[in-house]
Symmetry: C2
Subunit: 610 residues, 2 copies
């Protein structure tokens, strides 16, 4: 709104009956009750949309519909439920006081009342209030028009096969879509190469036709810094901000030239997205006449553990929200700013001041949402990620399921704190060589949680197709001509590997005995990718990676993937649906048919401990 | 999404440097530190978007930009900050471990990973994740097309002067706008009269062209019930739901005919809006392929006092949200379902089961938002409403201000509980005849809150223009030929009136001595409306109502409207801005010039107590 809106008509515009019944003189029926009904003569009917002609004398009444104007003379309405018609009269079984069941004219809104202030965003509910006033037109602020570019030699448009060393354009479509969600007209004008002249030409053209130009990428102050030079050469005053003391988001450039605003976002999508919310969004809202302070409503949440943060830099920490016992929990996504998965997972971010070194576990934080379409899940699964669970969940289309991949042990913690309904776990106990069950006591969850048997996953060595280096067993990892790719410490398979290596190494330090022992990746699939692309000769992973990578597989054994479930969540309908599906023949058939190396166990889907 | 989306490319698609610096063999620089830099020979530069041809031998390195592929042979990147160029070489001042500053190929997303499940709503953030995969097209569910009608003889379109007994159409435009906010194509097809044949004709036409028909009004089961009969006559199976055990929302009709869905919403806008969110929204989301359970994210809040609720009926209680000391506070809007002001004020509603008789003060509740554009305010003013404050706030366009009108005393309570920054108050102490100040001690707020002097408002008798009944003073209220309109108990002006009446009545019961003493309305403006429209001959109100109503005014005295402010909020920037404005000459001039009977006091804008 570019103007305040004041009421022009009363609401209600007349004394209105709020029930179906009879309009009466309250003083006539004051003493009426079940035992002593009072009879009144009906002299007509008050219809909605019409003013009853004439006045109702004492001792008389008028049939009246909800929403109809109360006729002259009457000062109350008796609900039809407390009346009984008898001939041309009606028996009133309950007294009313003056004004009862009547909405007085102007009692809700009066002519001249302030309805909305300037700068109010008109959404459906504001439109309803304006409609109630018969307002057909209001003066509003024009929203700025925005040209969006992506820049960078490495950036490719969607729909083509990805060339080596290149990435798909994320920031262009994402920024344009964000702007449209804000009600701002955005035009995606494509991808520009890292070429000063080309960028300058396109930006000059855009400046003549749009109010704002947003670019992303090519902002790094390393070698390049193309955007800074282009922005600064377009006119006075030029670059106003060159680099933010912010993590991520340092390479941000803001300029004004020819009376137009230019914003250069960082190239990494997650950085670009968060800087957009922190910097671009409030600026554009102000230009659109809205109040920047109220961009998106922040949400109160708690952090579940103690993440390290900025240390000297203000940090925007992306988080995923889940419902806990007492409100929202904000799971930090410990993803690099180049992460694409975090794009799909992040619900918002925490803005952490530069003087903080870490957040306390359970600390209360304020989360800025990055989407207006925030959803809480019906079922929250936190722990070790498994493609089998992805498949199971896909069979429950009615449920909104949130999966948070943080590794097995963090899943146990999440169940303990009441944040997860279910945790996927494949923890191997070194002393008993048993999976998961021994940890119930160790985690202090005996009697509070159960373990439901999942399934087995075959693990083994992943080698290039055709096994050109003739790898046969774990002993081969020690060969001089072999480069290994390892999994990170704490993963189930790393524990398994280190146990198997112990007798082979005979006391030698594994980092010295095995080339690449310190080359650690986070997922099974990253192991397969490293081998497929020749960065390593061998790795250890689940057999299912064969489905997606051109690699061969040498089996070593089976591991067991189980589900830890808090007892207080066992009866939850979504958990019951999950367990029914896990125990179903159809799912189990899909599991073994679709995922190589997966095996159903005799007690799959049954509570085996707790 | 009508299909699950699986990853088609790794993310990152190659081992990528996440910093500007030098790609090295980690083993070469393992021991480097500030005192013992290690020198490497630079053999070239790794650019983004290109694969470096060849391999980097030990003892050598490659200059590398953020986002560039790590060349063969290198397994870590040293940040440029820890290096110094010397000729064709570089001094490395800090060791790195293998993998440091490299995002491994596929470590974030691997080919085959599940990105999104079916039924996911694609907003900007989902679009970003799809773009990262180079996905150009996905299969989505078609959204239903919806025809929207308003019905009722009393309903008029906006833009015309309001005729007697009529109301403007709210539900039509509001429903169409709500649907568009949900991404659903809605066509507003106008207002239908309460005429069965006319409604049937229009609905038959609409059923042939749309998937869903939504009407509002004409659903009452009193006399009429037109929508039920029309819906049921359109085809099999006909009406499925006729009336909900819900308050408000009882007169809701749901039918299926000719394979299409028909929903008849109640006529009162607030009822229609809440039933839309409770019933229509989930049904339409399901038809659009979304999960109904997750319609809009509900918000945790607490209720500030003890409202009476449904008692035997499930109740949807509209609330206004404000920020309290520990999270959100949901202020029940104790408005009738015909209320238009509640439309402008309500942020959402609490869904209260039928077995509850009241909510406990401070009870934790879940609020369903009725708008995706929820905003929390910079400044919250709770208490007695005053047009002077509306004008002041209008002079602070940069602030999002929320005003909650609940009367003076409830404003004091809100300050005490930390929910209000400011409370507007005009409480008269009967023993000292002093306004507001004596209540600081009584409220237990001495030392915790201050009273800032506001301004005076002239109060007096409101009579019809030309004063046809020759009313001169309060004594005239006792005349046989005079009908009075009173204010509700607890309002400042009612207290004043009762004090003035005491000596005149001489012990008589005022309800017997004064016609209309029990005809109570809630606002100054409602008093003026009752007098202007001839429903009463006289009332008592502030003089400012003259500005909006064709009434005459007989002064009786002045009352004082002050501001109660919690000490902990005094330093808040928005409160300071408010007080600066209150003390400014420009505002004070506007106040006395624009609002009849308003007066600036010597200490206006100054702390006078606390």
């Amino acid at each position: 709104l570019a103007e305040p809106v004041y009421a022009r008509v009363d609401s209600p515009p007349f004394d209105r009956s709020v029930v179906d019944g009879f309009a009466v003189h309250a003083s006539d029926v004051f003493a009426a009750d079940e035992a002593h009904p009072i009879k009144l003569k009906i002299i007509g009917r008050a219809e909605v949309g019409m003013i009853f002609p004439g006045e109702v004398p004492p001792g008389h009444c008028l049939e009246i519909a909800t929403g109809a104007p109360v006729p002259r003379g009457c000062d109350a309405v008796v609900m039809v439920e407390y009346t009984k018609r008898v001939g041309d009269g009606v028996l009133i079984y309950r007294g009313v006081s003056p004004g009862e069941n009547i909405a007085q004219a102007g009692s809700d809104i009066s002519d001249g009342d302030l309805i909305f202030r300037r700068h109010r965003l008109i959404s459906s509910r504001e439109l309803a209030a304006l409609a109630a006033q018969g307002v057909e037109r209001v003066r509003v602020y024009r929203t700025p028009s925005v040209a969006v570019f992506s820049t960078g030699n490495e950036v490719m448009p969607a729909g083509q096969p990805l060339k080596p060393g290149r990435v798909y354009d994320v920031n262009g479509p994402a920024t344009a879509s964000l702007l449209r969600e804000m009600g701002i007209h955005a035009q995606l004008l494509g991808i520009l190469p890292d070429d000063e002249a080309a960028i300058r030409g396109s930006l000059e053209e855009a400046l003549s036709r749009y109010d704002v130009v947003i670019t992303s990428g090519s902002t790094s102050a390393g070698f390049g810094d193309v955007i800074y030079r282009v922005f600064d050469g377009l006119g006075r005053p030029g670059v106003l901000v060159h680099g933010l003391r912010l993590k991520p988001g340092k390479p941000t450039v803001i300029a004004v030239a020819r009376g137009k605003l230019l914003i250069g976002l960082p190239g990494f999508p997650l950085s670009a997205l968060m800087v957009f919310h922190l910097v671009a969004r409030p600026l554009l809202l102000m230009m659109a006449g809205q109040r920047p302070s109220t961009a998106l409503m922040s949400l109160e949440a708690r952090v579940p553990f103690t993440p390290e943060v900025g240390r000297g830099k203000r940090e925007l920490l992306p988080v995923q929200l889940v419902g806990g016992r007492e409100g929202l929990i904000a799971y930090p996504l410990l993803a690099h700013s180049g992460s694409a998965s975090a794009l799909a997972l992040a619900d918002g971010f925490i803005d952490i001041p530069e003087d903080r070194e870490f957040l306390r576990a359970d600390e209360r934080v304020s989360v800025t949402p990055i989407t207006p379409h925030l959803r809480l899940s019906d079922l929250t699964i936190i722990g070790s990620h498994c493609p089998g669970i992805d498949r199971l969940v896909e069979r429950l289309p009615g449920l909104e399921v949130k999966s948070v991949s943080v590794g097995s042990w963090a899943g146990w913690e999440a169940v303990k704190r009441g944040e997860a309904d279910i945790a996927g776990t494949h923890l191997l106990d070194e002393s008993t060589m048993e999976y998961n069950v021994p940890f119930l006591r160790r985690a202090g969850l005996e009697g509070r949680a159960v373990i439901v048997r999942g399934y087995s996953r075959r693990i083994g060595l992943v080698v290039a197709r055709g096994n050109p280096k003739h790898i046969r067993s774990i002993e081969d990892l020690l060969r001089e001509d072999i480069i290994f790719v390892n999994r990170v410490r704490g993963s189930g398979i790393r524990t398994y590997l280190d146990l198997r290596l112990k007798p082979i190494l005979g006391g030698r330090e594994p980092g010295r005995a095995i080339h690449g022992y310190h080359y650690e990746v986070k997922t099974h699939t990253a192991v397969a990718a490293a081998v497929e692309q020749g960065r390593a000769d061998v790795g250890i992973a689940i057999e299912a990676v064969k489905k997606y990578y051109g690699v061969d597989f040498i089996p070593l054994g089976e591991e067991i993937y189980d589900l830890l479930i808090s007892k207080e969540r066992l009866s939850k309908p979504a958990v019951q649906m999950f367990l029914r599906e896990l125990g179903s023949e159809e799912f189990q058939r899909e599991l073994v048919e679709e995922l190589p190396g997966y095996g159903v166990l005799p007690d799959t889907g049954k509570v085996i401990a707790g």
